[in-house]
Amino acid sequence: MTQTLTAPRPTIPAPEKIPIRLTVNGVEMQLALAPWTTLLDALRDHLDLTGTKKGCDHGQCGACTVLVDGRRINSCLTLAVMKDGTKITTIEGLATDGTLHALQQAFIDHDAFQCGYCTPGQICSAAGLIAEGKAKSVDEIRELMSGNICRCGAYPNIVAAIQQAMAQS
């Protein structure tokens, strides 16, 4: 028996691009986007902010983590049009006046990366973690950072870097 596994698709007219306004790293941006554009693709492909990385694109690796109104989220599972009017902070927005963010400096101090691909997501996630204030112990840092995978296995140094930045905050 042969079976068609994919049902025929209805023809859906191409939607109008939707105008949105995002404040990205303190700068207001006006964009017109197709609804399926993820926040990750909007940042990387429409705003040329390529610091935020696309890893799995399915919310499993955390490389795309950014802060939306101060909360860490996976930008790959977020439609940009649903974040109209919000404030986005990416890795490019953490340093102030040429001085690295405490987490950026701590990652350097502790050699908390090898290939570096997961690092922007790790740092943005850690910034969210510190702002949430729920992690005190090493075990709690590990548990609440579990949404960020490091395939190089730099975890001990990442935890040490977060502890250092947490102590300074």
Partner: protein, 269 residues
């Protein structure tokens, strides 16, 4: 992901009107599961109706001493809400056992109830799946199925419900408030999700065009003696192979009442 239209709902009536006008439309809130399924081509909505501006973002005390949790309250806000920690700590620990901090910041209470199974074959459009394409068969029954159902499975489907939060809600009495063409009503939590039987494409008893508006908990929270235990392939950020929510009410050394609910072992918690 396929082409789709995007609209915003202004209130519940507008949301219900919009979804009733387009049979292939879906509501979107946190999007953590739906966007993922759309990228995998498992979900192919013609339109997404954004419900995030509806007024379901509060946790309110009810007249009988319980709590009414709005369907849009994010999982993290719920887990860390002071009244949840104080009255329903098992619900908080179940929520924190699921997903990652980022996903909990995004995922909504209503969306947690309505998330689809993580059966590998449901996700893989190259395989047969009665839940995804009714009548096509079930690849999981003779496939890799160590995360699948032990209880209540059918010959059509052995998928499990993946939620942790719902296991705690199943152990402790809860009601799901819904609204829709037939008006607002409440569904007792054990009746909300369903067993697969011959229609595994239906995860819940929610009627077409209905929307979840809130989850209500009664006053009794079993806040003293409780545990949520989750067994999984890694220590964090993995779906349950088996989980159990257990709560006791003690009188001295005597168990006056016990509540148990299992997760990861059936099509419903």
């Amino acid at each position: 992901m396929i082409n789709f239209q995007y609209t915003r709902a202004t209130d519940v009536a507008d949301a219900v009107r919009q979804i009733a006008s387009d049979p292939a439309a879906k509501f979107i809130a946190g999007g953590t599961n739906l966007i993922d399924l759309m990228k995998e081509d498992v979900e192919r909505p013609s339109r997404l109706i954004d419900i995030t501006s509806l007024p379901f973002n509060t946790v309110e005390e009810t007249a009988d001493g319980g709590l009414r949790i709005g369907a849009l309250v994010p999982n993290s806000d719920l887990a860390y809400h002071p009244l949840i920690a104080q009255r329903y700590p098992m619900l908080a620990s179940a929520i924190l056992a699921g997903a990652s901090a980022q996903l909990r910041n995004m995922a909504s209470t209503g969306g947690n109830l309505l998330q689809r199974t993580r059966c590998y074959y449901f996700y893989d459009t190259a395989t047969s799946c009665n839940k995804r394409e009714p009548g096509s068969g079930c690849s999981a029954i003779a496939g890799l199925n160590r995360m699948h159902a032990i209880l209540g499975a059918s010959e059509a489907c052995i998928a499990t419900h993946p939620s942790d939060m719902c296991v705690a809600l199943a152990a402790l009495d809860a009601k799901v408030h819904v609204d829709g063409p037939a008006g607002a009503h409440a569904i007792a939590f054990p009746d909300f999700h369903r067993l697969p039987e011959n229609t595994p494409q239906r995860d819940t008893n929610l009627e077409p065009n209905e929307i979840v508006t809130a989850v209500e908990r009664p006053a009794r929270g079993f806040a003293t003696n409780y545990s949520y235990l989750k067994i999984r392939d890694r220590l964090s950020y993995a779906f349950a192979l088996v989980s159990v929510a257990a709560a006791l009410e003690l009188e001295g050394d005597t168990i006056k009442e016990a509540r148990l609910a299992l997760g990861g072992v059936a099509h419903k918690p």
